[in-house]
């Protein structure tokens, strides 16, 4: 019977299926509507631009992380990698006085190198990705402090550009959109992406089908490192300064964004659009709580609840659709 049931394809637009597949999006819409009713300040162009800028760093970081999570890994080092990349790129231009135009490339290379190391630890050293990236979280933060000697370094002009405005449009939003497109394309239309899904869905099957599992692991961590680096440079660019504590703890937000967006931590499932929505959910909540002048302490409580409810809703929804 299943063969019969399964061959049936939806006729026309299936609202129920759409809602079921876009739980986070629905949640986001509800959230925005609630805020729109609660305060007139939410739906102003200026505020929406704010949200866009604010979401950019976590979202870009989370795009890279999506690859790792799809491949059934986790990358706890993204916050530290963001800091080191921003720091080295600033050191390069400001302290070492090397050509500032290259600083972004240098930062991205640092991110790729960090990803390479984490990937190698997990692919060749056979460390669980949780441990490999936990070790890197500490190591890379330590290196950031060593490079900076614990002091902020001014960013180069090209990094500052990443945090500035281009006419009326803030550069972080442009970078965000481009990153989403590139990440989405790579994840869905290229062999790199498909291989990540296969490895995450069933590593052994992937291996037996001739997919180079180790290389796939290396690749997703390098991608994660590069996006983390980009995110770190946007952040530093916005502050015109690379801080030794930059993006500390952001890994948890980025992971939350990916998971709220519908990726499964057990691998094999994930979408860049979902991750973007997940990051937006977090940013809109933070923004809204500030607009509504909710006390800083209660904000943390509310954000935790939202993470739980958003993912809980997603789990519930999926269960109900399957059967």
């Amino acid at each position: 019977m299943s063969s019969v049931a399964i061959t049936t394809k939806p006729k026309g637009f299936d609202l129920k299926a759409f809602l079921a597949n876009n739980g986070a999006l629905v949640g986001l819409a509800v959230l925005c509507l609630a805020l729109f009713i609660a305060t007139p300040r939410f739906l102003t162009a200026a505020n929406l631009v704010n949200v866009g800028i604010q979401v950019s760093t976590i979202a870009v970081m989370a795009f890279g992380l999506t690859f790792v999570i799809v491949a059934a890994g986790i990358d706890l080092s993204v916050g530290s990698v963001a800091a080191l990349s921003a720091m080295v790129s600033s050191y390069w231009a400001t302290t070492a006085n090397l050509p500032g135009a290259w600083s972004i490339v240098v930062g991205l290379a640092v991110g790729a190198a960090c990803g390479w190391v984490t990937g190698a630890m997990s692919a060749y050293g056979k460390l669980p990705t949780f441990i490999a990236s936990l070790a890197m979280l500490t190591i890379v933060r330590g290196l950031t402090l060593v490079v900076s000697d614990g002091r902020p370094i001014a960013t180069s002009e090209s990094v500052s550009f990443l945090g500035s405005d281009l006419g009326v449009i803030p550069v972080p939003i442009i970078v965000l959109v481009l990153s989403a497109l590139v990440a989405g394309f790579v994840l869905n239309y290229t062999v790199i992406g498909k291989n990540a899904f296969a490895v995450g869905g069933n590593t052994e099957a992937a291996r037996l089908s001739g997919i180079p599992v180790k290389r796939v692991l290396m690749t997703v961590f390098i991608i994660s490192g590069v996006f983390a680096a980009l995110s770190g440079m946007i952040l530093a660019g916005r502050l015109d300064s690379a801080q030794p504590t930059l993006a500390a703890g952001y890994e948890l937000d980025a992971i939350a964004a990916v998971v709220i967006g519908g990726s499964s931590l057990s691998g094999g499932v994930g979408r860049i659009s979902g991750t973007l929505v997940g990051a937006l959910v977090l940013a809109v909540i933070r923004n809204g709580l500030n607009l509504l002048s909710v006390s800083a302490f209660w904000q943390q409580v509310v954000i935790g609840l939202v993470i739980a409810v958003a993912v809980g809703f997603d789990v519930f929804r999926r269960k109900n659709v399957r059967h």
Partner: protein
Amino acid sequence: GETSAEGGKVTMAISTLNNPFFVDVRDGAKEEAAKSGIELNVVDAQNDSATQANQLATAATDGSVGVIINAVDSDAASAALAPVVSAKLPIVAVDRSVGETKVASFVASDNVAGGEQAAKALAEKLGGKGKIIILEGVPGASSTNERGEGFDKGLAAYPDIEVVSSQPANYDRAKALDVATNLLQGNPDVAGVLAMNDEMALGAIQALGDKAGKSVNVVGFDGTDDGFKAVASGKLLATIAQNPAELGRQSVQMAAKVLNGESVEADVAVAVDTVNAKNISEYTK
């Protein structure tokens, strides 16, 4: 300006509320705001410059008529304040400077001077010689750098005092306990501890146990309630008392004045005092 303070919303962006010092700053500010009829919206950056940047951007568009900032990091604050500057809102900085950004008023204690006073208090007690260790604040925070500068200045007059180790304990008592314990283990003959705030000084006192106030002297910074208690009990040699509630009150006063179109001083220096066994009774009532 054409606005008045009465009834307007002012956003106060604080570096972190996980530290009693800033809770006092906030409370002083709230008190003053209630008096002058200002709606004070306090946001907490949890010591993250980027979070602070986000909060300032929101403040620029959410109907606030003015901003009071206690920067996480002085250099980064400049860029973070850009949206507030372009929204032409008046800015008052409190406790920490904000780089090049032009502010209506800067209300602060003099951290360099305070650092110098702290160093002097310890050095004199040690008779100008001996080994000491330094517990630093959050790396990169301007108060860390400024107090460090003050320590250096103060110690310059005492060439026989040797700083055997200087390590960050992030203004955190628990962190300071472990760091101090370990440093003391490596340097058992230390005679003094110079801590950049009272929380860390108290952590060091725990690490020292009975030695605190006897064979090893500790100096803190801030003048928190716990700090004063430790001075009174003789465990803490001295603390450089800031008056955080006063910092908060003054910052709101300055903001109110600007909003009402009055003129204000560009720099409001709130006094720091060296509080030790001699004058402690004036501070504890």
